[in-house]
Amino acid sequence: MQKATPLLWLLFSAGGTLAALLYPVHLALVGLAIPLGLVEPAAYESLRTLLAHPLTRLYLLVFVSLPLFHWAHRFRYTLYDGLQLKHLTPLIVALCYGTALVGTALCAWMLWTV
């Protein structure tokens, strides 16, 4: 665990930067503007074509994976400090980074089998 710490901080930082740059616009469009009818959603066929492009899939993998590790790292320390659960460290660590790993694997599999 000690040896992994620098890597985990790197993933936290990269994921935080990606989420800050790209998540607001993605969520504003997909979660709000499209369902509220403020903008027209792209036609299904063009989304399908977009998803078939290898660069799109690489983008989506990074887009999902890095912020999941950002969440895992931040949430882990929030649980420790906020709720004073230091004695549950191994469980929290396994659940947080485990979820990020599973999410990444699931995303990679979904994009691989497009």
Binding site: Q2, Y23, G31, L32, L47, T78, K86, T89
Partner: protein, 135 residues
Amino acid sequence: MSRHTAFHPRWYRPRVSVWWWLEKRAYALFVLRETSSVFVALVAGTTLLQVRAVKAGPEAYARFLEWLGTPPVLAVHALAFAFVLFHAVTWFNLAPKAMTLRLGGKKVPDAVIAAANYAGWILASALVAFLMLRD
């Protein structure tokens, strides 16, 4: 690193309430900032559902769009948007403290680094909107 011990007779450890972060505005903002990560993970989850729907075909994608428009999902996404914005603003404001750039032996002013981050944010947002909305 020493292992955590539940109780040590020689140490004085006053009990701190689990609600310590409500005592000061700065503490509460700190906890809100950390909580934003939960909504970051939620957006990643919505993206996974979107990819699954596009893969499954036009009907599944239409159902996904319908699901996005249901009131509970809209409400959660509106809340998530507020948190994701809060994350972005706090992240960019901390950027000058996290990285110190030197040009010609002089420290680049904090405001310049923050401004560069905000400019990158606007540019990336415009690019994503263009790519997602064109037909």
